[in-house]
Amino acid sequence: MTELIIPAIVSCLVAFFIVFVMTPPLIKFLEKRNMTVKDMNKKEDVMVVRPGGPVLIVGIVASELVLYAFLQMNEILAIIITTSAAFAIGYVDDRKVMGGWFKPVALAIAAIPIITLGAYDSDLAFPLFGIVQIPVLYLALIIFMIPITGNTINSIDVLNGVASGFMVIASFSLSICLFIVQNYEIAIVSLPLGFVSLAFYKYHKLPSKIFPGDSGALTLGAMYGTIAIAGGVEIIAAVALLPAVINSFLFLASVKKIVEHRQIKGKPVDHTDDFKLRATSDKSAPITLVRLILAGDPLSEKQVGYEIFKLAIFSGILAIITAFLMRVSL
């Protein structure tokens, strides 16, 4: 355990400072190239640059390479390759609008290195009840998990700072859980995810100076999913991600098919005169987490963001309880 302290500190510093230092130049670079989109939740015509994915992937790959130099684990290689592939998929989608099925299918292919590098254990661990051996089913789970976590984080990237802030809470909760279940090496490997998200949040929080784009959201989501598989904490990871899972679940349950958000005609949320967010009564619009949060009263963008963070903290606590329950057997 003590021999992991130095790699942990070095990799976390690398992860945080690469994103923290490189993001302002990336913002300038994207501004020069006019790679901006309108921030739909601002009264004025505010243009924000995107994508922030490139700094996130550089921070993640650099910090994981530092860890690989110390630990030489196949799990780290799987994280680097799968996360890089997810970034590439997201970047393609950032530059060129792809169909609704592109990302799930491409992300499923991106999960293959986890299998080929053997960075998984086919025993699925459940709290209270123990483990179940499902070797064939588990391979399917790996293939499904990366598209689910990637698209789940992407789907919650709807307001300033929400995707990165949510990821800070979920990933640090997952790291704490990995320490609780005594999987120290993967716990250390998971820490850079929280630190790159934290550094990016500085620029993504309200008012955003940069958006992560699909490349950023898929990078964060795919890395989270790979850590969950490599660490054997799939159920705990799902619990920590529940608010985002609810968002995807509500969306799919109301739309009843896999489509891109931009293909949806009905608007789930609009604005009041003072530009607060308000749930619409449009029956053709999808039900989303933000729409449910706003079902009572209109709220400012900042207030909705904080409500999502509170839900994330609640899920993080449930995940930590779940991790403790892993050590209890009925």
Partner: protein, 76 residues
């Protein structure tokens, strides 16, 4: 609405724990002996089928729960 969301999150968590219990107690010990070298393949296929049925049941329960928890708030 906000308390409803926390209730829905908590219900999802309980369903995950219960689903895990069913997976371990039903799928875990499930084996087939009559098909020689194909035993593991057929057993895996049946496990996949049971798991898919469990996922469908899980989603249906969640849909019912969603409608019940948010019945007063959702007017859209």
């Amino acid at each position: 609405m906000k308390s409803g969301l926390y209730g829905f999150l908590f219900a999802m968590w309980i369903l995950l724990l219960l689903g895990g219990g069913i997976m371990v107690t039903v799928l875990g010990p499930f084996t087939i002996q009559q098909f020689g070298e194909f035993n593991w393949m057929i057993a895996s296929g049946i496990k996949v089928l049971i798991a898919l049925v469990l996922v469908v049941i899980w989603i249906l329960i969640l849909l019912k729960l969603k409608n019940w928890i948010f019945r007063t708030e959702i007017k859209f």
